[in-house]
């Protein structure tokens, strides 16, 4: 019997955060202006999940990591040129719309279907990882629905740490209100973990890893089936970016106490 885990990471792509993100309406619903042309990155939350998955896989011999990603194939390919150099994984690609304006329900159904279709996947060793939310839509709903569809009922959200005890049980730290963590124990796989940031840095690019991954990444992209997602029947009443508030004053030589007093006054609205 294998002791390794089969870790499936769900991760989408989002526009590079340095780009100008300007929501615009078009007949099919809202989009980000020029979204297709803007450079994209792996969703940062999902990226943390991927690094954690690779770390766990490395520490647990016999493990394997898949990355299941739904996005426009050509954009996914560009993102893979960086992501594939980070950690070893096998890609499962779905060719469809990505972004904040697709229906979570449809996305979850497609991701769950893709996971079920992975040949030889052993449910008893299955860990479904992903971001507890995404940078394009902070709803935190997708991963839960993926878990439900796969009948994986042990679910954890806002995970910052997964520790494995000698008996194979998991100790999981989830973020809760007030900057604190909730500690849970779980008997073992299968489980769904929606990651917050975890604690691992972004791995440096490694060309050898990249070349190895590419052997499966490129065929997976060629194979990627068109996946219909959207928001049919949904009407968006209003779309806007979170407003940015920035009041800058340049003041020289202000004593620290004075700065602190100002900040407190600002927070308390005094």
């Amino acid at each position: 019997m294998t002791t390794g885990y089969q870790i499936v990471v769900c991760g989408g792509i989002v526009p590079d955060p340095l780009q100008t993100l300007d929501p615009v309406a078009n007949p099919a619903g809202p989009t980000i202006k020029n979204e297709m042309m803007l450079p994209a990155v792996l969703d940062p939350w999902a990226a943390h999940a991927l690094y954690e998955a690779a770390h766990l896989a490395k520490a647990t011999p016999g493990s394997k990591v898949w990355l299941v990603s739904l996005g426009p194939k050509a954009k996914l390919q560009q993102v893979m040129m960086t992501v594939a150099q980070k950690v070893p994984f096998e890609l499962v690609a779905l060719d469809g719309q990505a972004g904040g304006f697709t229906d979570t329900y449809e996305v979850a159904a497609l991701l769950a279907g893709a996971i079920q279709a992975i040949p030889g996947l052993d449910r008893s060793r299955l860990l479904v990882f992903g971001g507890w939310e995404s940078a394009s839509r902070g709803a935190g709903a997708t991963l839960q629905m993926v878990g439900e569809r796969l009948h994986v009922l042990d679910q954890f959200q806002g995970v910052d740490r997964l520790a494995i005890a000698a008996d194979g049980s998991f100790q999981i730290l989830e973020r809760i209100e007030g900057g604190r963590h909730q500690v849970s124990t779980c008997a073992g796989p299968p489980a769904v973990l929606g990651w917050a940031t975890g604690s691992l840095p972004e791995p440096p690019n490694n060309s050898q890893v990249g070349m190895a991954n590419m052997r499966t990444v490129m065929p997976a992209l060629h194979r990627a089936k068109p996946a219909k997602v959207g928001a049919e029947g949904v009407t968006f009443a209003r779309v806007s970016l979170p407003s940015q508030r920035r009041d800058t004053r340049i003041v020289k030589d202000l004593p620290v106490g004075e700065i602190a007093r100002e900040i407190v006054a600002w927070i308390t609205g005094a």
Binding site: D16, P39, P72, A74, P204, S207, M211
Partner: protein
């Protein structure tokens, strides 16, 4: 009208520069970019460029290069590398990415390859195996130190610089026991040697100082060899400060097996297989392309920061309200700043197109060159002049191949088409022109245009705080124009290679190609370019025949005043042509990629306008240079000389009178200051006649006419700069 929506992204560049199907290269680009815009940019922002010394902080970059695959890139898979086959394009892309942020970082990485290049190109299998493996960063399971190298050719004054034959470095026989490998004593002083602060080995050019050694060679010196391995003082350079440069002194004893490429013994004399000249020729013809691309990267990197500066210039002012043109457009309300940025952008595109085309050409040429060497070896034809002779014999076949290549497939000569030697000759004749052209034009003219970019940032441009480090980049470009052979070296090489019949025949065919493109896509400026190419070709042929006023030959090696400007003119044409070809490639392949397809129409129309702007500029340069050369060596006729009767008449001058008072004044007046009474009607001066004048004038006139629309293209392109979407912030620190 379709508009330029965003700055061209990776997907677009991959098609333009033809690596859309090379994911190994696409990954490499991302890797190099993360090093450039991460650790490299942070170092520059922290002020690491402010010292000459090689510091730990700077050394940390070498580790970043190792970890990201940049160091190992040069190696073949069997040596631990990860890219199969020729790597010219790969190395070019890395240099481009690194110098997008800092040229010194690029130099640091490239100098290691330069040190290995003599071994890679001409080393014995054992030398290649040993040093390439040592220079490969260790894998996690390996317990060894990486070796880094330096390339030492240049010597303290008055020795090697542009003149690479003036070697003072010497190699002598220290000990030669019958039947054993000789021991050599090597004396070499270097000047401006990159990587010297940390190199573990050096590939050094030396001449024989012993009658038992024939000619010059290159030798490998190691830091632990017996004798002196003095790294010397750090060069107080003003540029590329993230690289290490110094003036080393070596006095070392090494085995003769360190001679690069090996040696034979003939009548008691040690004969190196390759002279230092042969080795550096093989090395530089590849590495110089990469240097050319470094400057082009700088120009293209300037576009985004300049647009951001221009747009935001007046924001925050009390009376400047959001929504007002001053707030939204800032300096972009002014036509000049937009048009100058178009010049910067167009030059960057043209240079990049030329450089990447040259790099790809070498990727194609490398295997053919090996095939050629194998064929010659089988035929018992050695290196050097024997090969040259054999190749000259094949020149006719290659010309015949070219003549047939225009015919339909069935009528061509299949044997010629498949002959690797013929293909080698053709590509080689192009490489011999494209490489120096790219190094010369991209860096030399690029440095001039980089100054424009700096100007567009105002005072900010020449401070360390300038976003995109543009001031640094301007200065750095000057080094790129100097090291690995300054402009004079490239011009000298071009003046020989551009008159090769094989090149000229291909160039002639390119004129037809441009005419055909002009017919399909007149907006590209291909028409202008085709005419400018004709002017250049005509001028070259004319100068090869004509003599100056004193009867001296014009096109001659010693007449750099003739050959060098003509070489410059050619570069403009080559860059512009490749820029047009790349845009056509994008137009053809772009629709297949959904990411590129979106917004493609606007992008193509913008890039087409850039081509037109650039080709008009190229045509202007070519016209100016050619006119000066064609006319400038004829002595101006005097009134009593032969030209007198053919001078322009008063009628031609009259219209000028309204602009230049007195120019059509009373006949027979005194020649100013001469004291003579004028025997002629007053005019500007006697005019010139020479053989071929009519043809030249006809071409020149046509060239002027071909500029039609170029300024409209510039206006259109400039307008796009006011609306194109740019990121919120630069993706590297400042």
């Amino acid at each position: 009208m379709e508009i330029l929506r965003t700055l061209p992204g990776d997907d677009v560049r991959q098609i333009l520069w033809r690596f859309a199907d090379r994911y190994d290269l696409q990954m490499l680009v991302q890797s190099a970019r993360s090093v450039a815009r991460g650790p490299v940019a942070r170092l520059v922002a922290e002020g690491a460029r402010n010292s000459h010394a090689w510091t730990d902080q700077k050394a940390s970059l070498l580790k970043a290069f190792d970890e990201s695959g940049i160091t190992g890139l040069f190696m073949d898979p069997e040596q631990g590398g990860f890219i199969e086959g020729p790597k010219n394009l790969a190395l070019a892309l890395v240099a481009f990415e690194l110098s997008w942020v800092d040229g010194g970082a690029a130099t640091s990485s490239l100098a290691g390859n330069l040190a290995l290049a003599p071994i890679h190109e001409r080393g014995t299998p054992e030398q290649r195996d040993t040093y390439m493996r040592r220079a490969m960063p260790p894998q996690p399971d390996e317990d060894r130190q990486i070796w880094r190298g330096a390339f030492a050719l240049t010597e303290p004054l008055p020795y090697v610089g542009v003149e690479t034959g003036l070697l003072s470095g010497r190699v002598r026989i220290a000990e030669w026991v019958e039947g054993k490998e000789p021991l050599l004593q090597v004396e070499k002083r270097g000047r401006f040697i990159t990587n010297m602060g940390f190199a573990n080995f050096v590939t050094a050019a030396v001449d024989s100082g012993d009658e038992r050694i024939k000619g010059s060679c290159m030798v490998i010196l190691e830091e632990t060899d017996p004798g002196m391995f003095d790294r010397g003082a750090a060069t107080r350079k003003l540029v590329h400060q993230l690289s290490s440069t110094g003036d080393p002194v070596f006095s070392l004893r090494v085995r003769a097996s360190r001679i690069i490429g090996g040696y034979t013994v003939k009548d008691g004399v040690l004969v190196p297989r390759y002279s230092h000249g042969e080795i550096i020729e093989a090395v530089f013809r590849r590495t110089r392309v990469t240097v050319g691309l470094m400057t082009s990267a700088k120009l293209l990197s300037a576009v985004e920061p300049v647009i951001r500066y221009q747009r935001g210039r007046f924001r925050g002012g009390e009376t400047i309200t959001p929504g007002s043109p001053r707030y939204e457009l800032g300096l972009q309300q002014k036509e000049d700043v937009l048009q100058r940025l178009i010049d910067v952008w167009a030059t960057g595109e043209a240079g990049a197109s030329l450089g990447f085309a040259a790099a790809r050409l070498f990727d194609e040429l490398d295997p053919l060159e090996r095939a050629k060497d194998e064929i010659f070896a089988r035929q018992g034809i050695g290196g050097g002049s024997a090969q040259m002779k054999a190749l000259r014999r094949l020149q006719k076949d290659a010309l015949e191949f070219l003549a047939l290549s225009a015919k339909p497939a069935g009528e061509r000569d299949a044997a010629l088409e498949a002959d690797p030697l013929v293909r080698f000759l053709l590509l080689d004749s192009l490489a011999n022109v494209l490489c120096p052209a790219c190094k010369l034009w991209n860096t030399g003219y690029g440095a001039t245009v980089m100054r424009e970019a700096v100007s567009l940032m105002g005072g900010y441009g020449i401070t360390e705080d300038c976003p995109g480090f543009l001031g640094h980049k301007w200065m750095d470009a000057q080094l790129e124009a100097t090291y690995e052979g300054p402009e004079a070296v490239q011009r000298r090489q071009l003046s020989l290679t551009m008159v090769n019949e094989l090149f000229l025949e291909q160039f002639r065919m390119w004129i037809g190609e441009m005419r055909e493109i002009a017919w399909r896509r007149p907006g590209t400026g291909a028409c202008t370019l085709a005419t400018a190419m004709e002017v250049w070709r005509w001028t070259l042929a004319h100068l090869q025949r004509a003599t100056d006023a004193d009867g001296a030959k014009l096109y001659h090696g010693t007449r750099q005043g003739v050959t060098f400007p003509l070489a410059d003119a050619l570069c403009w044409l080559l860059a512009s042509r490749q820029q047009i070809l790349d845009v056509l490639e994008l137009e053809a392949k772009g629709p297949d990629n959904p990411v590129v397809a979106e917004g493609l129409a606007g992008l193509i129309s913008f890039l087409t306008d850039l081509c037109h702007v650039q080709s008009a500029r190229a045509a202007g340069e070519v016209g100016r240079i050619c006119a000066e050369l064609v006319h400038g060596y004829n002595r101006h006729p005097t009134w009593d000389g032969e030209g007198c009767g053919t001078s322009c008449g008063l009628g031609e001058l009259d219209p000028l009178a309204s602009f230049v008072p007195g120019v059509a004044g009373p006949a027979g007046g005194a020649l100013e200051g001469s004291g003579h009474v004028r025997p002629h009607p007053p005019k500007a001066g006697p005019c010139v006649r020479f053989d071929g004048l009519e043809e030249f004038v006809r071409l020149r006139l046509r060239l002027d006419g071909c500029l039609t629309g170029a300024r409209l293209a510039k206006d259109r392109a400039a307008a796009q700069l006011t609306t194109v979407m740019i990121p919120e912030a630069l993706d590297y620190p400042q």
